[in-house]
């Protein structure tokens, strides 16, 4: 572990250059960086970004392989959430323009079919709730069964905090993966959410894992966290050992407490991607919301060549993404194969 060291502006420390250390520790041995080491990467000067991304890409290729996992997501229940996550346009506690809406079963199944057509292997059904009530659980049961009967795709869900009974029922329905983001470092969470705790989220994730569902857990970069907290978050995620980490970049949405925050800068976002990959060499690291604003088209390619090995194609929950075809063309141009369904079972 690199702790007190004589850091210089180029990233060289008392224990040697952090990227050289990472090359041996992460690339060769598959051991993720510690919190102090992640922080060193995050503090690297901009001129070393290309090198950091290249190393993160090598790590991804070595420990995850060449395939890119493609996923689509859909909002089953939009808006009106009782929680106060300060980034979220779907909280009913803020003066956000997002109004409540429900998707019916036919449109849900249609969305899964459209997603499968892109070559996606995951389709995630999301609801803006603290946790599911019986009405939502029943809709999920019916919806998951209909999708599994008609569409060749893994079904994932993101329905907030769960009870043990709900975890068991979702697993029994055949839900393949469950998304529940820790969103940010534990030390920063109270600045982002006050209606529930980081620890409550952690508990749901543990139950999901124990029930045999895959764990999908990530967060949002650019919510006023310090670089120290970003490093803290990376290792807290690594400790969870999730199957997938979705990386979002803050979209300052009107009416939310974070509406005034700046959109994260591209180079900062890319260095964060590289650092997260070096903290979690073997995890699926997914490009999620906000990349369009933060990175644009060129930055998206840099991210794909900098440690990312999964993407959400098409639209998000309340925001729009690039057209799916554009992302598929990008993968084609980069000669990155899309992971097939039989590889995921």
């Amino acid at each position: 572990m690199t702790t007190a060291s004589t850091e210089t502006a180029t990233g060289t420390t008392g224990e040697g250059d952090i990227l050289a250390v990472a090359r041996e520790q992460v690339l060769e041995r598959g051991e993720g960086l510690s919190e102090a080491q992640v922080l060193e990467v995050l503090r690297l000067p901009a001129e070393r970004l290309t090198e950091a991304l290249a190393l993160a890409h090598d790590v991804r290729m070595r420990w995850c392989g060449p395939d890119i996992e493609v996923e689509g997501i859909v909002s089953l229940k939009t808006g009106g959430c009782p929680e106060d996550c300060h980034f979220c346009s779907q909280s009913g506690l803020f003066d956000s323009p997002v109004r409540a809406a429900w998707l019916d079963k036919d449109r849900l199944v249609e969305a899964a079919k459209q997603t499968a057509k892109t070559g996606a292997t995951e389709f995630c059904i999301v609801a803006a709730v603290r946790g599911p009530d019986e009405k939502l659980m029943e809709q999920i049961r019916v919806g998951v069964a209909a999708i599994r009967a008609e569409v060749d795709i893994n079904v994932a869900c993101s329905l907030g905090m769960l009870t043990q009974d709900q975890v068991d029922r979702l697993a029994a329905m055949g839900v393949h993966r469950y998304n529940h983001n820790l969103e940010t470092a534990r030390s920063h969470f109270p600045e982002v959410v006050t209606t529930h705790t980081w620890e409550e989220r952690w508990e749901t994730l543990q139950m999901v894992r124990a029930a045999g569902m895959e764990v999908c857990c990530g967060g949002i970069v650019g919510m006023g966290e310090t670089l120290e907290q970003r490093a803290e978050f990376a290792v807290q995620l690594a400790e969870l050992e999730p199957d997938e980490v979705p990386m979002n970049f803050l979209i300052p949405n009107p009416g939310t407490p974070f509406a005034h925050l700046e959109v994260p800068q591209g180079p900062d976002a890319l260095m964060t991607i590289a650092a997260f990959r070096l903290a979690m060499p073997k995890t699926v690291l997914r490009f999620a919301g906000g990349r369009e604003l933060t990175l644009g088209d060129l930055g998206a390619e840099q991210g794909m060549l900098g440690g990312i090995n999964a993407i959400i194609v098409g639209n998000y929950l309340t925001n729009l993404g690039r057209p799916a075809e554009q992302d598929l063309e990008m993968l084609d141009t980069l000669k990155m194969p899309i992971k097939a369904l039989n590889d995921t079972l």
Partner: protein, 69 residues
């Protein structure tokens, strides 16, 4: 995207003729579906799905881009 700024701005709901909507237009061209009816400025019920969106004004009915994508 077709629905951007009519009489009312679809992003912020303000009158299109007054104020600066450059930021609004940028958001609408990149990542946001319309949230306010361009004809009357009411908040619309918007459903985003993987390939498109549908927005419904209680007075002026439904617009969608689903067929375009």
């Amino acid at each position: 995207m077709t629905t951007t700024v009519g009489t009312f701005c679809s992003f912020c709901g303000g009158e299109a003729a007054s104020g600066d909507h450059e930021h609004c237009r940028a958001r609408l061209s990149l990542i946001d579906p319309p949230r306010y009816c361009p004809e009357c400025g009411r908040r619309m019920v918007v459903q985003v799905d993987p390939m498109g969106w549908t927005a419904r004004c209680s007075r002026h009915g439904e617009t969608t881009n689903a067929a375009q994508r």
